[in-house]
């Protein structure tokens, strides 16, 4: 797993909270920095893909780790 600058644990949260929290966290980060998001909402897999496509932030990785979903997002 690549390096990241900040981590957001959205475990237990349901739609649309993981996306909203991620957006807020990215807002406080610098361009080029990487955010790691952990989520348990199965809908978040498609949602983070869609979020990245629409906001221009790059979804570097999207996978599963220990039964949780993990995303690496690089701020545009």
């Amino acid at each position: 797993m690549a390096n990241f600058d900040q981590e957001l644990d959205a475990s237990g949260l349901n739609c649309p909270l993981p996306i909203l929290r991620a957006k807020k966290t990215l807002g406080g980060m610098e361009s080029g920095q990487v955010l790691r998001v952990i989520a348990t909402d199965p809908g978040s897999v498609k949602d983070f893909d869609a979020f990245a496509k629409q906001t221009g932030n790059e979804l570097m990785e999207s996978g599963e780790e220990g039964g949780k979903f993990v995303f690496l997002i690089k701020k545009a």
């Binding site: 349901n14 909203l20 979020f51």
Partner: protein, 160 residues
């Protein structure tokens, strides 16, 4: 600002369940960079009150799953029993909390934070003798023309 996408929503319903769709879509749209406005009218105005007292009713709602499969065998008239609404509302809130679904209050706060504009329909505020001071701060007041001013060049327009 002008190349931002726009989402316009008309929210007409004032029950706990139906308070969600406008707020979920508005908060998410804001996170995706949409400029967003919700026009609250008729029963939807309940969603703008500082002190929310939203309920969900099993009455006349055959699509509502109920505990112990009650939606299958419990007589429809039974859902009109006093207290039924309060019980179902409590159960729904508990279930939402257990499943990590945000409360209406939290979602609304997130919308306000992300600059979703909320407009209360002046006509229905007057019709229902509602007090604007009962509404959360930042609510604007306007009529149909106010709605079209924004919705006229919105990319998405929803009636909920």
């Amino acid at each position: 600002m002008s190349d931002e996408k726009k989402l316009a929503i008309i929210a007409t319903k004032g029950t706990l369940d139906w308070a969600y769709p406008p707020l979920i879509l508005a908060s998410t749209a804001a996170a995706l960079g949409y400029e967003t406005q919700i026009f609250y009218t008729f029963y939807g105005l309940q969603c703008l009150k500082k002190k929310l007292d939203l309920k969900v009713s099993p009455l006349g709602n055959p699509g509502m799953p109920m505990p112990m499969g009650m939606d299958k065998w419990f007589p429809v008239l039974g859902t009109a029993i006093p207290g039924m609404e309060a019980v179902m509302t409590m159960m729904m809130k508990n279930k939402m909390k257990a499943k990590g679904v945000a409360s209406v209050e939290d979602l609304r706060d997130l919308c306000v934070e992300s600059e979703v504009r909320m407009v209360a329909c002046q006509m229905t505020v007057d019709l229902f003798d509602m007090n604007p001071s009962d509404f959360i701060d930042g609510v604007e007041f306007g009529g149909a023309a106010t709605f079209f001013e924004f919705a006229g060049d919105a990319d998405i327009c929803l009636y909920i």
